[in-house]
Structures are given as C-alpha cells and as structure tokens.
C-alpha cells in the first residue's frame, strides 16, 4: 500500500468507516425493500 493511500486512510478513519457502514446498510435495506 502506498504511503499516500495509508495517510488518506489514517485521516478521519472512523468517519470513513462509519460512512462505509451507513452506505452498505442503506444499499442493502433499499435493495431488500425493492426486490423482496
């Protein structure tokens, strides 16, 4: 992993992780409501 990518990941790591969890959660919830 490049140092720049590492630095980018390190900065505001928790916000990035929470945003990812929310994004995946929303995507799954919407797909479920659309197709099931």
């Amino acid at each position: 992993m490049s140092p720049r990518l590492q630095d980018w990941l390190r900065r505001r790591f928790w916000i990035k992780l929470i945003a990812l969890a929310l994004a995946i959660g929303t995507w799954i919830a919407v797909r479920k409501s659309l197709y099931f």
Partner: protein
C-alpha cells in the same frame, strides 16, 4: 459469457452506488463534525435505534409511537438546521462540482503577501488555518464571509477602525470563511507578560484545536506562529511559507510539524 458480463455489470453498478452513498455520508459527517448538529444527530440515531429494535421485537405500541416521533423529528430537523442545510446545498452547487478554487500555491502566496504587508505596517493580525479539527464553533463567534483569500482582503480586514478588525480571521479549505472571530485565551502561566491578548488568543486556539495560527504583533511587527500549544516567534519568510503550504488545503495532521522552538 453473457451471464458473466451481466454479473460483472451488476457488481460495478453496486460498487458505484455504494461509492456514491459513501461519499454522501462521509461528506455529511465531515460537515457536521464539531458542530451542535452532532448532538442532535446522536439524538436522532437513538430514536431510530429504539424504533428499529421495537420493530424487531414486535413491540407494536413503541414502534407506532417512535414511528410518529421520527416523522415529527424529520420535519423539525429541516426547520432547526435550515441555515446549515442551505449552506451545505450551496457548497455542493457552488464549490465542489462547478467551481474549482484557486490552487494551494496561490492561496499561500496571498496569505504570505497579506501577512508580510501587515507586519511591515505594524498592523496587528491573527489568522487561523483549519486543519483536522473543525473551527466551526469559532466561525460562529465572528462574521461569516466565505471569500476568496487575497492579500488585499486580509490587509483590509485588519485595518484599525473598521468593524471587522477586532478578532481573528479563519481560513478553511482555502476559503476565508469568517472574520472578527473570538478565540479562547490561553491560560498558560509561562507565557511572557509582554504577550498581548492577541498572542494569548492564538496560543489558546492552538491548545484547543490543531489549527495553525499566525499572529502579527502590533508593537513589533514580528510574525509568530502558534501550533499545538507552542509558539514560534520571529519567523523567516521561507519557514512561514513552508508551514503554510503544508497547512493550507491538504488538512493533513501529519503535514505540519510542531514548531521545534518554544519561545514565550
């Protein structure tokens, strides 16, 4: 083969959708970080959690009640945060997508020119540059501006006798976002008595946040820098330029090293 291609396309679509959603959530979280909105959001999250749990446990009364409360909260949220929402939408439309701001070199050059001119004329000034920690609460204490950083604007803002000269200027992501801001005063007992309120305010802000704060002394015209609760006085032009270049734009905590000299 067609099936494989279709699966691949589905995967790319899903990744794209999640990517866009992630960008949206990340942007919202960064925007509200360090503001009063975080506390309100926490409250909303608790309500949503109670609603979801009561739904899962088939607690019909609670589920019905919290379902209604969430609807009311959603409307209240729009009313309470109307100015923030307007600013957020203006930022999407005005800056992120359609307008590319001036380059980092240009911003640093303008700050440098402004600070050096103020120092030459012995006009007191205090300029804070936001890094990781949000300076939003300090922005609210002053007069909101959202202007392009220019040496002329900096000089004008600190001109004595003008309404905005008292207080500090905040630069955030390459924009001059507010002036006449109040910064917390440092209670550092080791601070020299010769340091005025302006220096105390610069040090105070650097103690409470990771902002880079530049101070121009009214008495001596010397330029000082406060970072991480430490002062570096009488900086050379090149040193200041180097530190500013790292602080502006990137908002990287690793970028700006703490000053090695403490002179109080």
């Amino acid at each position: 083969m067609t099936n494989l291609f279709s699966h691949l396309l589905d995967f790319v679509r899903a990744a794209l959708e999640i990517g866009i959603l992630w960008t949206f959530y990340y942007w919202v979280l960064v925007f509200v970080q360090g503001t009063v909105a975080v506390q309100v959001l926490r409250g909303v999250v608790v309500l949503v959690l109670i609603f979801l749990v009561s739904g899962l446990l088939h607690l019909e009364v609670l589920s019905w009640l919290f379902g209604r409360i969430i609807t009311v909260v959603a409307v209240a949220f729009v009313v309470i945060f109307q100015p923030e929402l307007r600013r957020a939408l203006a930022r999407i439309g005005g800056e992120t997508l359609f307008r590319l701001g001036p380059r980092r070199e240009e911003i640093v050059e303008e700050i440098m020119k402004g600070i050096l001119a103020l120092a030459r004329r012995r006009i007191g000034a205090i300029v804070a540059i936001e890094r990781q920690t949000s300076l939003h609460s300090y922005v609210e204490s002053g007069v909101a501006m959202d202007a392009v950083v220019s040496s002329e604007l900096l000089q004008t803002l600190f001109m004595s006798g003008t309404p905005l000269h008292d207080g500090g200027v905040i630069i955030c992501q390459g924009r001059l976002v507010a002036s006449a801001c109040l910064f917390p005063l440092s209670e550092n007992p080791t601070l020299s008595k010769t340091m005025g309120t302006r220096h105390r305010a610069a040090l105070g802000l650097s103690e409470e946040t990771d902002a880079v704060v530049i101070v121009v002394s009214e008495e001596t015209g010397l330029i000082s820098l406060a970072v991480n609760g430490q002062f570096e006085r009488d900086l050379e032009k090149e040193q200041l330029e180097d530190i500013l270049y790292k602080a502006v734009g990137a908002r990287s905590s690793a970028a700006v090293a703490s000053p090695s000299v403490t002179s109080t």
